[in-house]
Symmetry: C2
Subunit: 441 residues, 2 copies
């Protein structure tokens, strides 16, 4: 095997001498048809009035994709930095910022060229598509500050105190290829191809400086008229969630705090994080085959909500407040002690809250042996929740809430956290700046 | 390990006695809060005028999802039959038909019940969503007729001649968990959650008779105004494709045949296949990182089309006919001998054509070692094309075309076929019938 020419074994034939030259990454290109004599015909530029309505602003006090009303699709990617030079990281972040501004406006990552003997400045699969409200949200992982005990970029002292490593939670079943990352990019858009395209361009621009470590695509349902989306367990999930002020008048319940309190970092940390937020991401596989065989009444006890209306147990409407003190005629709590909504509620966590931005994921099926009744083994869905949440400080947010939930939540029988990351998402980018610029100043 | 109670090790705690009873699959349910005393509150029924516009008819001469204008998402699933009784298969297909009729109309798979001590008749994640033009297209694999040399259901003699096993094509790199299946379901919808939901209900209804073997989700781009979608290589792919008569007047090129000729099985086969079609599915991973480093001119030579306009090389507009005889001033073919469009064209395949129904897929990244320049190894996209195609006879369609392409197409340097299946999709279902009913008569 090893003595054979790799070209000769790749498909067992040689197609054209030109393709091999190109595959070797040289700039000379000898192909039949004389491509060097032609010039690329560029597509018309985007930008009609209906497209502008599909544009989320890139510049601003906060990064997009945090308080932005959720788009229907996401593609999340964590990157490992492979360079040892801070100047490379800066150059890459500058490129990423320029490309992000362009892509959010529905343009190609870089201006296209008529030059046929250069790789394309954009892979092209989003040409002709709407900007689809694309947002790109950047995060900085612990590895940017210190990696394997090494201060690669002179940033070790600048690591925000709030950027803590997550503890190992009860029940964690982490898969290494779904964890960590020195940088994160959350692309959200109303078109999955637009989200995929955006991350791909950034990965291409990072060549030699950073490489993708893991990714996860996700989708939301097109729930009519602003209702709370249902997760793949068929329940409305995330009803109690702080919402942007503009949208909060009708739906904000008595326990809901403002984004200023819950989401945006303030003067307690470094200046480059003021107006930023901390992202905790968890990949949560659901045992859907198992769940589907549970009685509806049991499912409702697990969540603490009615399946169909979304109302808290004992109440009528989805947005009715939780009454955690309510008991039935026998003195038992109407919402069980181990119900998901009880354990996640601010009242059960000393007021702790997070901004939840969840997407469902569907990665097909994989072989699974369930070692509990009904002892099934076979292909089971690798599907569930890409849980993304934003908070002012993970210690007072996700960590505080999930320390408790991971031990007690009845839902844990049906879900497995197998991916995880925590990232500091800097403040929004001012015009002319690049993302996280003040950190490197 | 093995001596421990499986409940005690699943999360290391016992949540509530009730959950264990339920997990064991008994009908008795003892949970705090007295679920047995309550009744489920059912959601309002669907069906406003705007919803009706989102409904594709289920009954008809042909199955939906073949000539239906492509929805933006698909979830494809192949099933293995686990029963040895034809009567079980019939009962299951009857259930599948009833559920499909309901779901295509935006309803739950089965009527919901107020009974809280039964599993839900529907997992619920599509409640409140549009019907989203859901179509469900059913296929029969070779294993329904004969499996491991055994005629399980007395159908061996009824296997259509056109339902051949695919040969091993040049370059095939099959992964067992993406191949085969006794039955197939292609769910297409304009909402990924609706497509996932539909397959999941069918899988649930099949419990004990069939189980999922493999699945693949896919998406299309929301290309404006009927343009040919771009694949993840950034090229318009599938321009030459037979189209339904109603849509064909403007776009049908000189070499395009009608669906009657290309897609629908006729009197040459069994009556239950007349008006049906044969599905070939291929999971095609693309080496996108590699592709992105190729010169635009080289990419255009590989496809035989301009990247941005989609026009055939040497022409101006996407829909301009291919001129396979054209040569440049040096006498070289304008469209290279090994170009994708040349090898796929009907003229190169004795007139053979297929109806292409492709979706992109994005399953994240996995570790890949490229054993050819530039000798990269690391995490690479597990993304590409879920290629679904329909034809009157695979021997005169996909097999004939791809035998040639698999050996010569320059594109093969950048794509790997790693999943495959072939299925006979029976004629459409008449009102009151179940899918494939005449086969079992």
């Amino acid at each position: 095997m090893s003595g054979r020419c790799p070209f000769a074994t790749r498909r067992g034939f040689l197609t054209a001498a030109g393709s091999l030259v190109a595959a070797a990454g040289t700039t000379a290109l000898a192909v039949p048809g004389g491509a060097t004599a032609r010039a690329a015909v560029l597509p018309p530029e985007a930008g009609g009035p209906s497209e502008r309505r599909q544009i989320e602003p890139f510049w601003g006090e906060h990064q997009g994709g945090i308080a932005t009303p959720p788009q229907t699709h996401t593609y999340f990617a964590a990157f490992d930095l492979t360079t040892d030079k801070a100047s490379d990281v800066v150059a890459m972040l500058r490129l990423w910022t320029e490309a992000s501004v362009r892509m959010a406006a529905g343009e190609t990552a870089e201006p296209l060229s008529k030059d046929l003997v250069k790789p394309a400045a954009d892979s092209g699969e989003a040409l002709g598509l709407s900007p689809a409200r694309l947002t790109l949200t950047f995060g900085l992982g612990a590895g940017l500050f210190t990696k394997d005990g090494k201060d690669r970029y002179g940033l070790a002292k600048r690591r925000p105190q709030a950027l803590v490593d997550l503890p190992r939670f009860n029940g964690d079943q982490m898969i290494a290829t779904y964890t960590g990352g020195d940088l994160s990019v959350q692309a959200c858009a109303d078109d999955p191809q637009v989200a995929f395209h955006a991350v791909r361009q950034l990965a291409r621009l990072a060549y030699g400086h950073a490489q993708i470590r893991w990714t996860q695509a996700g989708f939301g349902s097109n729930q009519a008229a602003g209702g709370t989306p249902r997760n793949l367990m068929g329940f409305k999930d995330g009803t109690i969630n702080p919402v942007p002020e503009a949208a909060s008048k009708q739906t904000k319940g008595p326990h809901q705090a403002s984004l200023e309190e819950v989401v945006w970092a303030g003067t307690e940390g470094p200046a480059w994080m003021r107006g930023g937020s901390y992202l905790v991401v968890r990949r949560i596989r659901m045992a859907l085959e198992h769940w589907d065989r549970m009685e509806v009444g049991f499912q409702e006890q697990v969540f603490g909500r009615q399946k169909y209306s979304g109302a808290p147990l004992g109440r009528t409407h989805e947005l009715d407040p939780l009454d955690l003190a309510a008991t039935d005629k026998d003195g038992n709590p109407v919402i069980p002690d181990s119900a998901h909504v009880r354990l996640g509620a601010a009242e059960s966590n000393g007021g702790a809250q997070i901004l939840r931005r969840g997407y469902s994921y569907n990665d097909g099926v994989s072989f699974t042996a369930e070692r509990w009744p009904p002892w099934h083994q076979g292909m089971e869905y690798d599907a569930g929740l890409l849980f993304l949440c934003y908070q002012r400080d993970p210690r007072a947010g996700f960590i505080k809430i999930y320390e408790n939930m991971s031990k007690l939540d009845m839902l844990n029988q049906f879900v497995t956290h197998n991916g995880s990351g925590v990232f500091a998402c800097p403040k929004g980018v001012a015009r002319g700046e690049f993302i996280a610029e003040p950190l490197f100043a």
